[in-house]
Symmetry: C2
Subunit: 87 residues, 2 copies
């Protein structure tokens, strides 16, 4: 059986897009974020933005949509991390 790459791409994109959700939920429920690296989140958002740009250039909708969603989740992680990081 031939596997359609687009199916694997969408699966991959969906998994990496939702991956940060458990971390976001953990930050919000624990109200703690000192151990979260903001460097990680900032590099991630920069990289995800480049993925969206790449998706636009090669006209690949799974790449554009899944990475745009990841950016949203990571922006929420930044907002809640800053809120809960110890002063």
């Amino acid at each position: 059986m031939e596997i359609n790459p687009i199916i694997i791409g969408i699966l991959a994109g969906c998994l990496t897009a939702v991956a940060m959700i458990p971390q976001l939920v953990k930050i919000i429920t624990q109200k703690k974020a000192e151990q979260i690296s903001l460097g990680m989140v900032i590099i991630l958002i920069t990289g995800l933005s480049c993925w969206v740009w790449y998706g636009i250039l090669i006209n690949d909708y799974p790449v554009i949509i899944t990475n745009a969603f990841s950016i949203l989740v990571n922006l929420l992680i930044i907002i809640f991390s800053l809120k809960y990081k110890k002063k």
Copy 2:
């Protein structure tokens, strides 16, 4: 000036591949990991593995190499998180 998508793809891949390194360094230096969501890391590794599979199917080396590197970093995050998570 026409931008070569491959340049943006490589830039995107490199950024998202190295993004978790600051988190790994933070876990190792702080010797703390209770706030790190293992759910996040497990979903991420599953998704990254699908990206490598997708890269193989569409013959896209930047996708294969950068995601394989991310898998390595995330495996180290799992190992050190388990080591430093409070019993």
